[in-house]
Amino acid sequence: MSRFFYPKLAATNLKKNAQTYLPYILTCIGTVMMYYIMVFLSENEGLGKMAGGSQVQSILSMGTYVIAIFSAIFLFYTHSFLVKRRKKEFGLFNILGMEKKHIARVLAIETLYVAGISLGAGLLGGILLSKLIFMVLLKILNFEVPLGFEVSGPALAAVLFLFAGIFLLTLLNTLRQIHLAKPVELLMGGQTGETEPKTKWLLVVMGTLSLGGGYYISLTTQSPLAALTQFFFAVLLVIVGTYCLFTAGSIAVLKLLRRNKGYYYQTRHFTAVAGMMYRMKQNAVGLANICIMATAVLVMVSTTVSLYIGMEDVLRTRYPQHIMISTPMPAQQSVEGLQTSVKEVLVKHGLEGKDRLDYRYVAFVGNQEGDRLITNLSNISDDSSSVREFYLIPLEDYNRLAKRTASLGDDEILIYSSGSKYEEDTLTVFNRTFSVKERLDSFFENSPNRVSISGSYYVVVKDMDVVKAMEEARAKENGDDPSGYRYYLGFDLEADEADISAVYQDIRTALGSDYPGSSIESPVAAKESFFAIYGGLFFLGIFLGALFIMATVLIIYYKQVSEGYDDKARFEIMQKVGMSREEVRGSIRSQVLIVFFLPLVTAGIHIAFAFPIITKLLAVLNLTNVGLFAWCTAGTILVFALFYAIVYGLTAKVYYRIVSWGTSG
């Protein structure tokens, strides 16, 4: 036999199966490209050297793992679909006298071709695109764009290593399947297992419970801190629920419909119910995959986009004032000393502090239980939802700032609550019970930590003696030294960012070592690192979103193709039995529509239920603009749905071509 026989045969095979192989190869190229770019960015030295760059890179390197794992699973999955379609072909080769080792040889050469094309085109595309993507990333991050073009050696190596592994694995898996099968089985490969699906009530119940549980968690979780821990659990529940309900739930519903004779034996419902049952059995897992992926894309993109767009909001929430100083007292210098230092800096810059907020306070953390605050650290419970931050502030400072002349008794307090409402009439802390004289509804909006992941209470007490007494009680309870009170000074500046930044730097220097333990914060100073983190997340969200969409497209495409082949025969039978072509076409079209838009609608429902918990999570990340998030979510869903519909329309064409109306006419 000619030396070129096998390579030639392999090439012909690929060409003959272009309809299914082309999308597969395109996906391989796409994943190679994306993986190269991601590794390139996360290893890029120039990016690492930029301020905040290393934060971005640690986010991106997370992305490389996601892409690697996802590529492996996904390519493996699609390839097994290709093999299923080709089993008949292998059986024919086998019967025509090719031994399994010959088939293996052809398959190995095919894999080599596919790998060669994918890696070649993918790396080329990746290298060319990496510069563009790099510039986009820097633009997102507000970084300077450097000149120059580079090819990353380590990224090349990583790609070759990963994808060689994936291709080898898929080949081995195919060989295993071929090796195990008998020729006759291979010939029949395309048409086994048309048994009616069983109703698995256990799965239905499990699915309903876990989906309901996931939704319940999302709807009822109140505190952002709890949301942080519960979210992952809720996601797991929803994923489990989605799989169970798509596989078992759909079948159960259809069977119930079928049992209802008056409904089932109607022209319109009859073929639809039976057809859907058959389709769901074949596609439930694939559809659940699409649904979960769609949900993931929507959540990822909508949150990262709203974080990025809401950056200014986020900064303003996290840093309510332009300059925020907090320092422990008594220090070497007095409060007046600090104020003077700050004043000098401001005078030097010709600026004046606005909306000045300054007060002495003591802060501590505890669990709220009704009207009691449990502060003993060893007793702080795991229930993160009851964690509260307390700020005790003397009345004197409050009156000064609020320009009021309120008065308080020894055991009376004013309380301002944020994050969670304080509804009790008394407050007991360190065995001392205070009665709430008044609930404040304004004044501390601009305090630091106003929006914390747990609730915060600003408690105004009679005087500094009470404040100090409480701090001593706290220290005694926890067996450490009383740290005294702290002093907070914050104000806004009417100046541009550069000036604020200069003021920030000068005050920082002025405070220097005179105020150990003091901190100074400013949104301007934090902006860079916020851009690094949220910009990085935004970039990752879009990038992974694109990858997932690509996967969704491919799954949809393969569904259409395999459905097309199956439906062709059924379509012909139905015509013979007396259904008009129009009826068949209408029935099949509506079924296909349901099948494809079911995941999208379900994803939409998931998102709607996830909305409350995600807003809480975003609050942890300092995004409290629910309106913005709602708009971003709606926008993302709209764009995704549009994209999905386009993909559906394009692949439906392939489907109708396969079924090719009119062959039997």
């Binding site: 048309e194 048994t195 009616e196 004779k261 008056g262 034996y265 109607q266 022209t267 009859f270 039976a274 057809g275 049952m277 058959y278 059924r570 039978i573 139905m574 015509q575 013979k576 039995v577 007396g578 259904m579 008009s580 072509r581 129009e582 009826e583 039997s664 006419g665």
Partner: protein
């Protein structure tokens, strides 16, 4: 009374890439009387299936006409053709053409459901048919769960349930073992004896020998026909075999 009348039917296929046209039917004329059991025989490629497809209104002739109870199939509008087919014709196919997404009962109900009949009426109609065909206890099963013979009996039930003018059977014994084939042919006879008109296309001598009349098609024309009259199945079998031999060895027309 004549149920089916076929006049000068001609069908020419032109291939898509401009190859030479293939003549499947040259000039076919025959008629089927009410209550008759006729068989059409011919080798592969003789035009049997084309003929049947035209009779079933699945295909259109190049020229000539088909009249069902005096009504020309070509005069029926495209929109009504499916309903017409559903109500007037029953089909039995070689490969059963049962949908594996439906239980056998639902497969049988399919044409009635398409006509919008109620469940009560459908079950009322099915009951005597199922008893006659002996499929009462497998109705809840699915096509892949039963034998070929059982599948074919269900297909017959599906054809009968619409009370059609004419049942068209395409190679109905082709996928059955000899015992199942024998059973089916007995069944056809029985149905026919109750007044059902049957037209069967086959190249099985055995199957054809059960019919009252056998039409032979060769090269797209009715070559010859045999009447069973009072003959036994065996004698008819012999006669058909002889005719086929004559046809194959190129003898001229006789009788």
């Amino acid at each position: 009374m004549t149920i089916l009348e076929v006049n000068n039917l001609k069908k020419v296929y032109t291939t898509r890439f401009g190859g030479s046209p293939v003549q499947a039917l040259a000039n076919v004329s025959f008629s089927v009387e009410e209550g008759e059991y006729a068989a059409i025989m011919g080798e592969s490629g003789s035009g049997k299936t084309t003929l049947l497809n035209i009779l079933a209104s699945l295909d259109k002739p190049t020229s000539g006409e088909v009249l069902l109870k005096g009504k020309g199939l070509s005069t029926i509008k495209e929109k009504e053709i499916s309903a017409f087919r559903r109500e007037n014709l029953g089909f039995v196919f070689q490969d059963f053409n049962l949908l594996d997404t439906f239980s056998l009962q639902d497969n049988i109900f399919l044409p009635l459901v398409l006509s919008g009949k109620s469940y009560e009426e459908m079950s009322r109609r099915l009951e005597p048919i199922a008893r006659k065909l002996g499929i009462g206890d497998i109705l809840a099963k699915y096509p892949y769960e039963v034998s070929g013979g059982q599948k074919q009996r269900c297909a017959v039930a599906r054809a009968l349930i619409t009370k059609p003018q004419l049942i068209l059977a395409d190679e109905p014994t082709g996928s059955l073992d000899s015992q199942a084939a024998e059973g089916l042919l007995r069944l056809f006879k029985e149905i026919n004896s109750e007044g059902q008109t049957l037209l069967m296309v086959t190249h099985s001598v055995k199957a054809a020998s059960h019919a009252q009349r056998v039409l032979f098609i060769k090269d797209g024309e009715v070559f010859h026909q045999l009447y069973k009259a009072g003959m036994s199945d065996e004698a008819m079998y012999q006669k058909i075999s002889d005719t086929l031999t004559t046809m194959a060895t190129g003898g001229g027309r006789h009788e």
